[in-house]
Structure formats: C-alpha cells, structure tokens
C-alpha cells in the first residue's frame, strides 16, 4: 500500500512538472538579479551590451557585398522600421518553409539582398546587428505569430523542451517549469524566458545569442549540443518565445 501511495505521489509530481507557468507567475531573469546588476542593465552607459548596439548602428549604415547596399538603404531608420521586429522572431520563412530566427533572417538578407557572405554565428558583426535590431524592441511585449504553418514547429520545440536528454537525463522543463525559484548550488533556477537576447553574460565576458545559452544548458546536462542554426534549436527558440508571450523585451540584457 505504501508503495502505491509513493507511486501516486510520483505521478502527481510528473503531472505538475508538465504544467505551464501561468502568465501571472512568469518572471524574467531580471527579477532574480541583485540591485547592482539591474542598475548595470538599466543604465545605457554601464550596460556593456550597448557597445555591440553602438557597433550595430555603424554596421546598419555600412554598405556590404557585391550589391553595395547597406541595411539602411532598404529598411530606413531602424528606430522605426525595426521597432518590435525582434519580439516576433522566430518567424515563418516562405522560402525555407520553416521558422528562422533573427540571426538567420539577418544572414538571409546579407546573402540575397547584399550578395555578401553570411556572418558566422556568434561573430562580433552578427551579434552587433542582432543586438541593434533587438534594442529597437525594448519595452515591447514578446509576440510570435503562431498559425497553421507554425504550429508543427511549435510542437516540435515543445517536444525538445520536454524531452529528457544527456547523461543526467534531464529535460528543460524539469528545472525551468517544475523547480524554478529554487537553488541550484549558489544560483536561483530561472524560468528560462528569453526576454533579453542577445545578452551580455558576465560569465562569458561578452554578448551571446540565445543559441549559445541553449548549447551551454545542453552541455550542462551532458547532452551533445545541437549545431548553431540547427532546426531543433530554432524550434526550441520558437517554443521559448511562445512560452514567454506577453513578457517585456529588455535586450540587450545583462545576466550573471
């Protein structure tokens, strides 16, 4: 009988682990940081991410590739044309017939419109451009568009999120849905909402993309990380953005 109740308890735990965090209880990683780090993020002259934004503003106006065009030639001023754009990515790409993230969108523009070689993932230039674009969405709510074409990819992302993987046999949801707010060694487990990417992580001493963060998590559970730009990672990004829908963008954020 005791074994039955133990088993039932486990089942209840498993069921509660799968539940999504209600919108009233969603917390950005910003809320878990100390006073000094919040001040660092909020002050544009202290936030190191602004160095990349500054460089992105320069790159936005610089002509590149065989076409000799700059971003500004098609898109105009980023402060109006790019407002809210990052909050809608990953978005469906008709050519690829699947969602693409902001970095892939920027590279597609580079290859097709500027006729320039694509920028490498985590290169300074790509981070600078994505940080500059993401900065224009600061303060706006995250709102990815989910329609019939996007639905299968959202479901695929949810599967990756809830799948146990790696030598530690952990799923993303076990930490970030079921145990957020509790301690993992010296750190508080965050809910894992991607509100501020690309963000400046003090541990990295650099700006980094959401995919870099996800790959770091995968290594942490001793799983083989997906390659940059892998469909699984983009699907997971899509699921995470959908899971954080309505939350406020604060890119470029600062995190420990």
């Amino acid at each position: 009988m005791r074994r039955f109740w133990a088993l039932l308890g486990l089942l209840v735990m498993a069921a509660s682990a799968a539940a999504e965090i209600p919108s009233s209880e969603r917390r950005s990683g910003y809320d878990l940081m100390g006073r000094e780090l919040r001040a660092m993020q909020d002050d544009d002259t202290a936030n190191p991410g602004m160095l990349w934004v500054l460089e992105g503003a320069t790159l936005w106006k610089r002509a590149a590739g065989a076409a000799g065009r700059a971003c500004v030639d098609c898109h105009g001023e980023a402060s109006t044309s790019m407002k809210g754009v990052a909050a809608h990515y990953p978005a469906f790409d008709a050519g690829k017939q699947r969602p693409v993230n902001l970095e892939q969108r920027i590279n597609a523009c580079r290859v097709d419109r500027q006729q320039a070689p694509p920028l490498a993932y985590e290169s300074r230039e790509l981070l600078a451009l994505s940080a500059y674009v993401a900065r224009q969405s600061r303060g706006l709510p995250i709102a990815v568009t989910i329609d019939d074409r996007m639905q299968p990819f959202l479901e695929a992302g949810r599967v990756v999120y809830e799948r146990r993987q790696g030598q530690l046999n952990l799923a993303c949801s076990q930490c970030h849905d079921a145990n957020w707010g509790r301690q993992l060694a010296g750190n508080v487990v965050p809910q894992g909402h991607p509100t501020g990417y690309p963000l400046y992580r003090l541990e990295w001493q650099s700006l980094g993309s959401l995919q870099r963060r996800l790959r770091g998590c995968l290594v942490g559970i001793r799983a083989e990380p997906y390659e940059y730009g892998a469909p699984e990672l983009v699907d997971l990004e899509l699921y995470l953005m959908w899971r954080a829908r309505g939350m406020t963008m604060d890119a470029p954020a600062v995190r420990p």
Binding site: D43, D44, T45, A46, P48, M50, L51, L54, E55, R124, L202, Q205, S206
Partner: protein, 106 residues
C-alpha cells in the same frame, strides 16, 4: 574594432561634484590561458587609462590582467571650468583609443 561609451553631464554648476562613467570595448586577454591544443594565448590588455580636463590630468589608472573584459571605470571630479575632458586608453599591441566629451560649467 574599438568603441567607447562615455557619460559626462553636459552642464554643471561651478564647484559641483560630477560623476564620469567610461566603458570601453576590449577583450582583456590575461595571457594565462591556453587553447585546447595547449598553445598559450598571448596577453592583450589595456595597461593604462588617463583622463585630462582641459589638459590637466585629473584621473589615471593602471590596469592588470585580473580586470575583466570591457573595463568600466567610474570616477568623480569637481566641475571647475567649461571645456573638454579627454580620455585615453593605451595597451598591448599598440592599442590606443582617444575620446573626448564637452562640459559647460555655469
């Protein structure tokens, strides 16, 4: 690529204590790290930061390998006269960046 963010109040009263914030983009490679193949990564740091106020040195700092990437230096000074604050960072591999900011003292 080198860029710096500087924050100096545009206006101040004479005798007022003002806060100057500077942030510069730099890797600050310590020289103690090795690549995965065991080769030492050579040191590449900013060694010195100097701020001058209308030509007079008001603040300087020596930087060492333990200082993190993208050094953020904040200090205070007294607004004595209108003019220019100049900032200079110098370091390994001929690294040298100069920036300036104007201030009006009333």
């Amino acid at each position: 690529m080198a860029s710096a963010l500087i924050n100096v109040p545009a206006r101040a009263k004479r005798g007022e204590i003002i806060e100057v914030k500077t942030l510069i983009s730099h890797v600050m490679e310590t020289g103690f790290r090795h690549t995965q193949l065991g080769a030492a990564i050579p040191r590449n740091i900013i060694r010195r930061f100097v701020c001058t106020y209308n030509g007079t040195e008001i603040f300087s700092a020596d930087l060492y390998p333990a200082i993190s990437a993208n050094p953020f230096i904040v200090f205070s000074t007294v607004a004595t006269e209108s003019g220019t604050l100049s900032f200079q960072w110098t370091g390994d591999n001929g690294f040298s960046v100069t920036e300036s900011a104007k201030i009006t003292v009333e």
